[in-house]
C-alpha cells in the first residue's frame, strides 16, 4: 500500500522531551517513535494524532522519572551515610568546623535580624511612599543649621499653594507631663500634639474612638493601648479625663494600637493640636513644628522642592524685613541661607540626622559595618573549612583512590565531598538557631532595641536560611572537593600525594587572611576604646561628677526658690541651681547677637544663649577666667551676661569686660536688647565631642526644667533619700525623677559606646573562630611531621627547638597578616576619628597589642600539639606507621 501523505516528523519540542529520558537516541529509535506517531495520525487525524502522541510521550516519561528518582535517592542515601561516618570518625575536625560555622552563622543571623529591623522602619504606614517631611536648611551668622522642624504656617501654605500636596500634618512635641488619673500619677515623656488628620496620613489604627473626630476638639487626646491599660485597667478609657501637670484636664477620645518598634517615633499620647493652637507662633521663621506632607499619587517630590525658593520669597520676606530691614534676596548676598527640602518618610530613620529629630535616629553606616563584620565571621569559618579539608586530604586520599579503583566517577566523588560539607553547614545552622534563641536577650541589650525574632520561624525565611546554608556548604566544600577528587588512584595508593605546593600556598593565603581580619577588628576595637576613654577623661571645663539632676523642677511652680533654699540647708548640698540648660546635650537656645555699635547683618552671630541663676557657674564648677560671676550684690546683673572664650574671640574683643552685646529679639515686639559682659568663662563642652565648642552666653533669667545639685562626696543613697524626702514634703505623690550628670554625659556617647561594644564582641568571635581553625590546622601539621620530629629528637634536638620549628611557620603568617592589617585599619580608624572635633591620636599600642595577641594565640594553639609531640618518646613517633 502506497501512502500519499508524507511521513510526519516529530517536532523539536517532542524530541527534546523524548531525549530527556531516552538513552542512546539514534536513528532507529527516532524511526520507531515516528512510526507510532504516524499510526496515531492515520487512525485519528492529524490534530488528534498529535495529541495522542503527546500523551504517549508523557506516559513514557512516568516510568523513567520514577526510575531516576529512586536511583538518585539511593545515591543520596549512600552519600549521607558515608558523610555521617566520616564526620563521626574525625570528631575533632568536625567539631571545629561545626562550632566555627555555627558561631559565624549566629552572628550573621543576629545581624540579619538587626538589618531587617532597621530597614523596615516606617514602612508599615500604608501611604509610606507618599509621605515626606519638610525640613529647613539655614545659614545664619556663619552657622549652618539643619532642622527637622519648620514654622507653624508652613503646612497650610503647602496644601493651598501646591496641587501635588494632598494633605499635611503638623506635630508639636508635648514635652514631659505628670499625668494623673484618680490616685495614679506617672511621668510621661512620649507626648505629642498633632493636627486632627494625623491618622489619615500615618497608619495609627484606632482600637476605640472615631478617627475622624478624635482630635478635633481642644483638650482631647488619644492614648496607646499599653498606656490605657496602665491608667484604666480594664475600664473603657474613652470619655475618661486625665489631669496634666496638676493644671489642665484632657479627655480621652480614643485608644490607638501601640506604635511598632520599627518606627522613627513612639508616642504614647497624641493630643489635639487645637489644644495648643494659641501657643503656636504663626511665623515662618520660628521653627516650631514637624510637618509631614502626603503627596498625591505620582507627584514628583523633586519638582515640588524646586518650587520652594519662590515660597520663601512669598512668605518669609516680610518677617525678614521686620527683623533685619532687608528682604531675602538681599540677605542672601551677605551669605544667609533659608531653604527647605523634603525627606522621604522611609529614609528618615537611617539617613536623617538633623537638629531636633523626634527621636535619635540610627545611621546607615552601622548597617554597613555590621553586615561587613557578619560576612567576615562567616568567611573565616568557611576558610577553616577549606583549610582543614584540604589539609586532611592525605588522610582521605586513600579513600579516594579506592573509590576510583572500584569505579567511582569524579562527579560522584565531588558530590560526596559536597554532601559532607552541606551536612556540616546544616548541623551548624541548627546549632546557630539554638544559640540565637539563648543569646537573644543579650543581643537586645547590646543593640539597645527589642527585635522580634519570630520572623526566623516564618516558612519562607526558613527556606531562605536553608538555601543559604546549602550555598555556604557548597562554597566551602567545592574547592576541597575538586582537589580531593583529582587525585590519581595509582599515585595515591603508592602514597605519593603530599598535598602539593599549590594547596599549601592557598592554605597559607587563607590563614593570612584570617589573621588579617582578626587583627583589623582588634585594632579597631582598641582605638574606639581609646577614644571613648579620652572623651571620658578629657577636661570638660566643668566637673561632671557628684552632680544630681532633679528633673522637671518646674512642677514646684512658685515654691521652687523656697525648695532650693531649703535644700541648701542640707549639709550634704554644696550648691544648687535652677536651670533648663545642662552642659550635656539638653536644651539649646540659639539667638543672634552682635557687638554694640555694629548692627550690620554680617556682624550677627548665632550664639547659644542660656538662662542661668546665680549658682549656675558655681554648681557646675566652671572657671571664670576674666571678670566675675553673677552676684546678688549687683542688681544691674539682670542686664549682664557671661560669655565663653569662643564668643569673646568671635566678638573680637581682647578685654570684653564692660563692653555690651546686642541681642536680636525672638519676636517683633522686642527688637534689640543690650547686655553688659561681666565675665568670661573658660570653654566647656556642652555638645558631643564631635562638634567644636560653640559660642555661648549666660543670662540671669529664670528657667526651671532642672534643679542641679552638687553634693559632698559621701553616702550617695542617703543623700538622695534626704532630697527625695524634701521633694515629697513639697509635692506629695509626685514621682521624684533624678539622674546624675555623669550618666547623662555617658548617654551622649551611647551610640559610640555601643558600636565599640558590638565591634569588641564580634572581633572576639572572629578571633575565636580563627583560633579554632588554627588549632585544627596545627593538630594536622603536627601529625604530619610526627616522623620528622621523631628523627630530629633522635638526632638530639631539644624540646624548645622543636617548638620553635613548628611555631616559625605560623608566626611568619601572622607577620604577613599584620603587614596588611596595620595600614588598612589605620586608614579606617583615622576616618572614623575624623568625625570627632576632639580626638586622641592613633598610637602604636593598638597595633602592638593586636600583633602580640595574634602571635600568642598562634603560639598557644600550636603549642598544645607541639608540646604533646615534642615530649613523646621518639620511639613511639617513629613506630607511628
Amino acid at each position: 500500500m502506497k501512502r500519499k501523505r508524507a511521513v510526519p516528523k516529530i517536532t523539536k519540542a517532542a524530541e527534546w522531551i523524548i531525549r530527556s529520558y531516552q538513552k542512546d537516541w539514534d536513528e532507529t529509535k527516532r524511526g520507531d517513535y515516528e512510526e507510532i506517531y504516524r499510526e496515531f495520525s492515520d487512525e485519528s487525524g492529524i490534530m488528534r494524532g498529535k495529541l495522542r502522541f503527546f500523551i504517549y510521550i508523557l506516559r513514557s516519561l512516568v516510568p523513567s522519572l520514577r526510575n531516576s528518582i529512586s536511583w538518585r535517592f539511593m545515591m543520596l542515601h549512600n552519600y549521607l551515610k558515608i558523610a555521617i561516618r566520616n564526620l563521626r570518625r574525625q570528631k575533632l575536625y568536625s567539631a571545629i568546623n561545626i562550632i566555627g560555622l555555627a558561631i559565624g552563622i549566629t552572628s550573621v543571623l543576629f545581624i540579619l535580624l538587626y538589618v531587617q529591623h532597621e530597614l523596615s522602619h516606617d514602612r508599615y504606614h500604608e501611604k509610606a511612599n507618599r509621605i515626606y517631611r519638610i525640613a529647613a536648611s539655614i545659614r545664619m551668622g556663619g552657622n549652618d543649621l539643619e532642622r527637622a522642624i519648620v514654622g507653624a504656617p508652613t503646612a497650610a501654605a503647602l496644601v493651598n499653594d501646591f496641587p501635588e500636596v494632598e494633605d499635611a500634618v503638623r506635630l508639636k512635641t508635648g514635652g514631659n507631663w505628670y499625668i494623673r488619673y484618680g490616685d495614679k500619677t506617672y511621668k510621661e515623656t512620649a507626648f505629642i500634639f498633632a493636627d486632627a488628620n494625623v491618622m489619615e496620613i500615618f497608619s495609627i489604627p484606632l482600637l476605640e474612638g472615631d478617627p475622624r473626630t478624635a482630635l478635633s476638639r481642644p483638650n482631647t487626646l488619644i492614648i496607646s493601648q499599653t498606656e490605657a491599660k496602665k491608667y484604666f485597667g480594664s475600664d473603657d478609657p474613652v470619655g475618661k479625663t486625665l489631669n496634666l501637670d496638676n493644671s489642665v484636664d484632657f479627655q480621652v477620645t480614643g485608644v490607638f494600637q501601640d506604635i511598632p518598634s520599627f518606627s522613627h517615633f513612639h508616642w504614647d499620647f497624641i493630643g489635639s493640636m487645637v489644644s495648643v493652637e494659641k501657643r503656636l507662633v504663626m511665623e515662618w521663621t520660628s521653627l516650631d513644628v514637624y510637618t509631614y506632607l502626603l503627596l498625591r499619587e505620582g507627584a514628583d517630590p523633586e519638582a515640588l522642592e524646586a518650587k520652594f525658593p519662590a515660597m520663601v520669597e512669598k512668605y518669609c520676606d516680610q518677617e525678614f524685613k521686620a527683623f533685619t530691614g532687608k528682604v531675602y534676596a538681599q540677605l542672601k548676598e551677605s551669605g544667609t541661607k533659608w531653604e527647605y527640602f523634603l525627606q522621604p518618610l522611609t529614609s528618615i530613620h537611617l539617613h536623617s540626622n538633623l537638629g531636633f529629630e523626634l527621636e535619635p535616629n540610627s545611621d546607615i553606616k552601622y548597617i554597613y559595618i555590621f553586615s561587613a563584620i557578619a560576612i567576615f565571621c562567616l568567611l573565616i569559618a568557611s576558610i577553616n573549612f577549606i583549610n582543614l579539608s584540604t589539609a586532611r586530604s592525605t588522610k582521605r586520599a586513600k579513600e579516594v583512590g579506592i573509590r576510583k579503583v572500584v569505579g567511582s566517577a569524579r562527579s560522584q566523588l565531588i558530590v560526596q565531598f559536597i554532601t559532607e560539607s552541606v551536612l556540616m553547614s546544616i548541623a551548624a545552622l541548627f546549632g546557630a538557631l539554638v544559640l540565637v534563641r539563648f543569646l537573644q536577650p543579650s543581643f537586645h541589650s547590646l543593640i539597645g532595641r527589642e527585635i522580634d525574632i519570630h520572623f526566623l520561624a516564618h516558612p519562607s525565611q526558613v527556606l531562605i536560611l536553608a538555601a543559604v546554608m546549602v550555598f555556604v556548604g557548597i562554597i566551602a566544600g567545592i574547592y576541597p572537593a575538586f582537589v580531593l577528587s583529582s587525585f590519581k588512584p595509582v599515585s595515591v595508593l603508592k602514597q605519593q600525594t603530599k598535598g602539593g605546593s599549590r594547596t599549601h600556598w592557598l592554605r597559607s593565603t587563607l590563614v593570612v587572611f584570617q589573621f588579617l581580619t582578626s587583627m583589623v577588628l582588634i585594632i579597631g576595637t582598641l582605638i574606639i576604646h581609646n577614644q571613648m576613654r579620652y572623651i571620658q577623661n578629657k577636661d570638660l571645663g566643668f566637673q561632671k561628677e557628684q552632680v544630681l539632676v532633679v528633673q522637671d523642677a518646674f512642677i514646684l511652680g512658685k515654691r521652687i526658690d523656697a525648695f532650693k533654699e531649703e535644700l541648701k540647708q542640707n549639709p550634704d548640698v554644696v550648691s544648687a541651681t535652677i536651670t533648663s540648660y545642662l552642659p550635656v546635650l539638653s536644651n539649646h537656645r540659639v539667638r543672634s547677637i552682635f557687638p554694640e555699635g555694629q548692627r550690620e547683618e554680617k556682624d550677627f552671630m548665632a550664639v547659644q544663649s542660656w538662662r542661668a541663676d546665680h549658682d549656675f557657674v558655681r554648681t557646675f564648677r566652671m572657671n571664670i577666667i576674666q571678670g566675675r560671676d553673677f552676684s546678688r550684690e549687683f542688681s544691674s546683673d539682670s542686664k549682664a551676661t557671661i560669655i565663653n572664650e569662643t564668643a569673646a574671640n568671635m566678638l573680637g574683643w581682647d578685654n570684653p569686660i564692660g563692653k555690651r552685646i546686642g541681642v536680636v529679639g525672638s519676636s517683633k515686639s522686642e527688637k534689640y536688647q543690650y547686655f553688659t559682659v561681666i565675665g568670661v568663662i573658660k570653654n566647656f563642652h556642652f555638645d558631643s565631642m564631635r562638634e567644636v565648642i560653640m559660642p555661648l552666653a549666660l543670662y540671669l533669667e529664670p528657667s526651671s526644667e532642672f534643679l542641679a545639685v552638687r553634693l559632698q562626696t559621701g553616702n550617695v543613697s542617703g543623700q538622695i533619700d534626704s532630697i527625695k524626702e524634701l521633694w515629697n514634703k513639697y509635692l506629695p505623690g509626685y514621682p521624684f525623677v533624678f539622674s546624675f550628670l555623669d550618666d547623662r554625659f555617658e548617654n551622649m556617647y551611647k551610640s559610640e559606646l555601643r558600636s565599640g561594644r558590638i565591634l569588641g564582641i564580634f572581633s572576639a568571635l572572629a578571633v575565636i573562630i580563627s583560633c579554632l581553625g588554627l588549632f585544627g590546622l596545627s593538630a594536622y601539621m603536627a601529625e604530619q611531621r610526627t616522623k620528622e620530629i621523631g628523627i630530629r629528637k633522635v638526632l638530639g634536638a631539644t624540646v624548645p627547638e622543636i617548638l620553635l620549628l613548628l611555631f616559625k611557620e605560623f608566626s611568619l603568617l601572622v607577620s604577613v597578616g599584620f603587614l596588611i592589617a596595620a595600614p588598612l585599619s589605620y586608614f579606617f580608624m583615622r576616618n572614623w576619628l575624623q568625625d570627632f572635633s576632639y580626638r586622641t591620636s592613633i598610637t602604636v599600642w593598638p597595633f602592638m597589642i593586636s600583633m602580640g595577641l595574634a602571635l600568642s594565640i598562634a603560639l598557644i594553639t600550636v603549642s598544645y600539639y607541639a608540646v604533646k609531640l615534642a615530649l613523646s618518646s621518639p620511639a613511639e613517633s617513629l613506630r607511628y606507621e
Partner: protein, 109 residues
C-alpha cells in the same frame, strides 16, 4: 545458568514470535497483545538493551525504507544462548508447575 526475569522471558518470547520483523514498535505491540497491558517504547528498549548485553539477543540494522521516511530499524534476533535460556526457563516452569492444576489451587482459596 541464571534465571531469566519474567520481563526478560516475555521480551525474548515476543522477539522469537515476531521472527524477522522484531523491532521496537512491533515488539511493544506484541507484548501489549500478549499481556493485555500497555507496553511503551522506552519500556521495551530497557530490557532489549539488557538482553543484548547478556548476549541472548543480537541486533542488526535494516536497510532504510521509504515507508519509515528513510530511517533504519534495529532488528532483533535471538542468539542460540537466548533460545537455550528460553528452553531452560520453560523446563523449570514446567517442573515447578507439574501436577498443580488451577482447580487444585482454587480449592485452597
Amino acid at each position: 545458568m541464571k534465571f531469566l526475569t519474567r520481563q526478560e522471558e516475555m521480551v525474548l518470547l515476543a522477539v522469537w514470535k515476531l521472527q524477522s520483523d522484531a523491532y521496537g514498535v512491533t515488539i511493544a505491540k506484541k507484548l501489549t497483545e500478549m499481556t493485555g497491558e500497555k507496553w511503551l517504547l522506552n519500556t521495551v528498549y530497557l530490557p532489549l538493551d539488557r538482553l543484548e548485553k547478556k548476549r541472548y539477543l543480537k541486533s542488526s540494522l535494516s536497510d532504510p525504507s521509504a515507508k519509515r521516511g528513510g530511517r533504519r530499524k534495529r532488528l532483533y534476533k535471538l542468539t542460540s544462548a537466548g533460545i537455550k535460556a528460553l528452553i531452560e526457563t520453560k523446563k523449570v516452569q514446567e517442573s515447578i508447575w507439574q501436577k498443580i492444576s488451577i482447580s487444585y489451587l482454587e480449592s485452597d482459596l
